[in-house]
């Protein structure tokens, strides 16, 4: 079967090292993967194409690249599924990491972030004479995060990392979760504090890219939300993220729907400098007639909001019991 691939090329040692696109046509079996196509190109069409791969079975994580604009494992992506129209399949290196050559990115960024979360157990003392006993469900829960094959797809497409290199990022945060929730780990509190700090869980913007692209169902965003929940329950609450969540919850409990100005004020807390930064925004909203001033700057409650309040109480009572 014929496939057209438009491949992003880059050679730092070339005379003019600017990246460029090159189109290739390949004739390969109909069930070929994108990686098969690229290997075919390298073997029979253009030996200068640099591709990294090893297992070819979605286990080693080395063939992560962007196919049709999204991070994927090239070896787990069928070319037929990517051939959306008569247009060529686009193949580019992963994002958020420097390109070494063609489709190969420098994974140091990735590994440094993994190292940053101290991906090892700090054993709970005293160390038992024989093994630590861990409930089965706990390990099952951790397995989700342990399934990560370190391919970097999530890091490639993370929108927070795109604007801030200090963000710890999805893979490392999912890894951190794996230790936070491991009962054999003693550093839980310390970890939760560090993870709630600048660059940590509250810098994730909920964009779901990591969930969408992860080939192993790790769903880093869900792990991040779990870390937030663990941190807030462990009393790590002196941060803008918690203030935002607490304020949000309080407003819904009270009136059933959200009101943005109130959320803004409550989330920012008592820091006057931060408050002031938001004033121009607030004034602009008022001037544009966007806040329903007739009813005061804040929303009315929804009719029958008492029902919502009672639902809050019931859920919480059931959880305490």
């Amino acid at each position: 079967m014929q496939f057209k691939l438009n491949v992003r090329r880059y050679d730092p040692e070339a005379e003019s090292p600017a990246p460029y696109w090159r189109e290739y046509e390949v004739d390969v079996p109909a069930n070929a993967t994108v990686l098969d196509c690229l290997i075919h190109i390298r073997e029979y069409v253009d030996g200068t194409l640099a591709v990294r791969c090893s297992c070819r079975s979605a286990i080693c994580g080395s063939c992560m690249m962007r196919v049709n604009g999204q991070a994927r494992l090239a070896c787990a992506t069928k070319a037929t599924d990517m051939q959306e129209s008569s247009e060529a399949i686009t193949v580019e290196p992963g994002g958020n990491m420097p390109v070494i050559k063609d489709l190969i990115v420098d994974m140091d960024v990735f590994w440094n972030k993994i190292r940053q979360v101290k991906p090892w157990l700090e054993p709970v003392q005293p160390v038992p004479e024989r093994e630590y006993l861990v409930p089965n469900e706990t390990i099952l829960d951790l397995t989700v995060a342990m399934n990560c094959i370190m391919c970097g797809a999530c890091v490639s497409d993370c929108t927070s990392l795109e604007v801030d290199k200090n963000f710890i990022g999805p893979a490392a945060l999912a890894k951190a979760y794996r230790f936070v929730d491991d009962p054999r780990d003693e550093a839980r509190q310390e970890r939760l504090e560090e993870l709630s700090d600048y660059g940590g869980v509250y810098d994730c913007t909920h964009c779901f890219f990591c969930v969408e692209v992860c080939p192993k169902g790790v769903a880093p965003l869900e792990r991040i939300v779990e870390i937030r929940e663990r941190a807030q329950s462990a009393g790590v609450t002196n941060n803008a993220g918690t203030r935002h969540a607490v304020a949000f919850e309080g407003i819904i409990r009270d009136s059933g729907i959200l009101d943005e100005p109130m959320l803004l004020l409550k989330s920012i807390g008592m820091n006057p400098v931060e408050q002031l930064k938001n004033v121009p925004g607030g004034v602009r909203l008022l001037r544009a007639g966007k806040l329903p001033l007739a009813s005061g700057p804040f929303h009315h409650k929804i009719p029958g909001h008492g029902n919502v309040q009672r639902l809050f109480e019931k859920v919480e009572a059931a959880q305490e019991a």
Binding site: F209, Q232, E249, P261, P292
Partner: protein, 296 residues
């Protein structure tokens, strides 16, 4: 065409022009809306980070209220869509869990049986009303106008939860609607990225960089304005645009329209009924171009 209409919070708060334009468009195309006045916020993915069950219970209550009307459920916010789809999947997959939640709803006389199919106005418009019908009602084709689509995260991912398997074109509906209105969609890399809204109070610089990057890119690609089905995206892209411009150090001046405003313009609905004057970034340049266009 009648719907149980979940308005969300923002259309009743900081984006009154969304409610206004949607109401006008719905009346124009014969879409009847039964406002779900007693429905609560979906929790916007924030309440779940404190208490997942609570967020699930709030949404189950809203679904039960929709079921009571016997009408299909429509929302007008990408975030509402994402949260509702996610919760619905969880509730339907775990009958014991749903039963537990239903017990808590019983006092209010509610029970959710799992039949709700929450859909955003954008999906309803394409899937129920149809673009052919829309095209036939267009009075003022927006020819010569270049429009940048901005989807919002929660209506784009995760695709398996959002029904993209059964409706693969959900990822291009905005472009399809823009074309049906006679305008030209502008392609740019940020159209499905995050607007930055969720971290505006946590990391203002990152948030505004995101918004500024997308607006800047769309502007550079020649967009006359941007259109979004998400009022939260709208808040970050419109109301914060002057600050975003400072953060990304690029002059930005791109009007951000709600989907219903775009459609309303093509249908020939009066500007005043679309709330086009209630924007932070002035929509005047768009309106001038619009009024220069011939009526079909």
């Amino acid at each position: 065409m009648k719907y149980a209409f979940f308005p969300g919070c923002v259309s009743r708060g900081a984006c009154p022009e969304l409610m206004q334009s949607l109401t006008a468009v719905a009346a124009h195309i014969g879409m009847e809306l039964e406002l779900m006045e007693t429905a609560s916020c979906t929790g916007a993915g924030v309440i779940s980070e404190r208490n997942q069950k609570l967020a699930d219970a709030l949404n189950a209550r809203n679904f039960a209220l929709a079921e009571q009307t016997g009408l299909p459920l429509m929302n007008i916010c990408s975030t509402c869509q994402g949260v509702m789809s996610g919760v619905n999947e969880r509730l339907k997959a775990r009958p014991e869990y749903l039963a537990e939640i239903n017990e808590m709803l019983a006092e209010e006389g509610l029970s959710y049986s799992g039949t709700a199919n929450p859909r955003n106005f954008m999906w309803v418009l394409v899937e129920d009303f149809g673009l052919e019908n829309l095209r036939s009602l267009v009075k003022r084709p927006l020819s010569e106008l270049n429009v940048a689509p901005f989807y919002g995260c929660y209506i784009s991912r995760p695709t398996d939860v959002l029904g993209y398997h059964d409706f693969p074109q959900r990822g291009v509906y905005l472009e399809m609607i823009i074309e049906a209105c006679g305008a030209t969609p502008v392609d740019y890399s940020g159209k499905k990225k995050c607007c930055g809204f969720p971290i505006i109070t946590m990391n203002r610089t990152n948030s505004l960089t995101m918004a500024g990057n997308h607006v800047g890119e769309a502007q550079e690609q020649g967009a006359d304005f941007m259109v979004t089905p998400c009022p939260l995206c709208h808040l970050n892209l419109d109301a914060q645009q002057p600050d975003a411009a400072r953060v990304v150090q690029t002059p930005l001046n791109l009007p951000i329209l709600h989907l219903s405003q775009l459609i309303g313009m093509a249908l020939g609905i009066d500007d005043a009924d679309l709330g086009l004057n209630r924007h932070v970034v002035s929509t005047n340049p768009v309106r001038e171009r619009l009024h220069a266009l011939p009526l079909a």
